[in-house]
Symmetry: none
Subunit: 252 residues, 2 copies
DNA sequence: ATGCGTGTTGCACAAAATGCAACGCACCTG
DNA sequence: CAGGTGCGTTGCATTTTGTGCAACACGCAT
């Protein structure tokens, strides 16, 4: 595609890790300093990169503004948010909202647990796609060929002994999930954390997002968490209804 | 500087206005379709641009991930330090930087007064939350319900006759502080010590930290200290600008 | 079939990006 | 204070790389 642009864009994730100086950027890109300088200057002009007082470069304000706008284009998030908050108030655990995009599953909203022990996650961060309950729901709804192709392409890291080990097992799991209309992750990502998740569907029945409730074993056992399933499904259905225009928010 | 990158980056704000197809992008860039195509493809590979089902392009969710990660790796303390030192050189008094965390306000940086009479404080030590100027700023920015809940939970020790006596008085003080955008502590913690403080805000306008200048009566009167307010606010604004990655041009 | 509006590909040419080497500059260090 | 080291920065010759063109492919409506 375009080498120059490709290099320039590679700078962004690099700076997301933290500020870096010209030399570091040039090294990690594998280009001459002068080349890196010109790329950084261009990024700077567009406000995507900022030069702090110690001369090092970091991501700039413009990027935050763009991210904000990108968010606003995802209207599921806006509709879902109030429901997620309410669910969190009812059960107290961490609530996540995720979408599938370009072979990745991304968290796009999160309401923190009210318990002191919290699970780590980050809005915008790609999800552990082979084990996360929300990922199973989103992938289970893909057309067959796409699903198979993706399953073959993925890595299957064994986060724990319960992680999905290979494509075959994953595809079987996705079939089950599609069948039952909900999904779980019982210690597949981190030994002590369990999730239950339910799908959010658009007017045409396609899964547009998925939401989950997560809690560590020390707070509730997996069995206890599973008793929340009806509540989670009801919340997801409420969001689906509002998203597809069936149930205006005012009526609830 | 770099034409190709420049063109590619110009696509982002364009798509921020709303989804567009190849032709529209090419037109607005003033380039041939094939050129626009290659640029879009490169952006796409980096996840900054997403191709929706109707083939049109829009901003991708990856932008989040970047912005979010960058935020997380930002260190107010690191960015603020040089500014605090400069402020101390200009006025000579003790300068503090504080953040709110888990129902407490903590000093995270300090530059000592150059006068022989110093006030006692320690980095990492919780601040007298009901009276300190920095605490007022940080709490004033909390969401209403959280602020009320916290105000009720706190103790109101009468360090001096001017200490905040109760939740109602505290909430009133916080409203004033939020309104005016700065705060003071005039002998509320120790009879002879006054402070002026200003907030430091992130890209989203949220108060992420607060800074203050403190001095005992024997060095400067409260009125004299207040004349430093513009300087303190300017410093805080400079830190805010740098923290949120604004370019000088956008800063005005 | 036919025409129109898309997006997409291969290619020749020219422009634009690259790496180099040299310079400026601030900061140490002996 | 001379000399050295580690940065960022600049001008320039070289050629890689991006560009626009024209042609093609595809879907859709007429």
């Amino acid at each position: 595609m375009s080498q120059t642009v490709d290099r320039a864009l590679s700078i962004l994730p690099l700076l997301a890790e933290g500020p870096a100086d010209l030399g570091q950027v040039a090294d990690r890109l594998g280009v001459h300093k002068s080349t890196a300088l010109r790329l950084l200057r261009t990024l700077h002009e567009h406000g995507l990169v900022y030069r702090q007082s110690d001369q090092r470069y970091r991501l700039g304000a413009r990027l935050f503004a763009l991210a904000q706008e990108a968010m606003e284009n995802l209207d599921v998030r806006e509709i879902a948010h109030a429901h997620l908050v309410r669910l969190n108030e009812e059960c107290g655990h961490t609530v996540h909202l995720a979408v599938y995009e370009e072979n990745e599953v991304l968290y796009i909203d999160k309401v923190e647990s009210r318990y002191p022990v919290r699970m780590y996650s980050r809005i915008g961060k790609p999800v552990a796609i082979t084990v996360a309950a929300v990922a199973k729901l989103l992938l289970a709804d893909l057309p067959e060929h796409e699903r198979r192709a993706l399953a073959e392409k993925l890595d299957y890291p064994m986060y724990t002994s319960r992680s999905t080990p290979n494509p075959a097992a994953f595809l079987r799991e996705l079939d089950t999930v599609r069948e039952q209309g909900w999904a779980t992750d019982l210690g597949g990502h981190e030994e002590s954390i369990n999730c239950v998740a339910a799908p959010i569907r658009g007017a045409d029945g396609k899964v547009v997002a998925a939401m989950s409730v997560s809690a560590p074993n020390v707070v509730v056992t997996a069995d206890e968490l599973l008793t929340l399933l009806p509540l989670v499904r009801r919340t997801a259905d409420a969001i689906s209804g509002e998203y597809s225009g069936r149930t205006p928010a005012e009526l609830q």
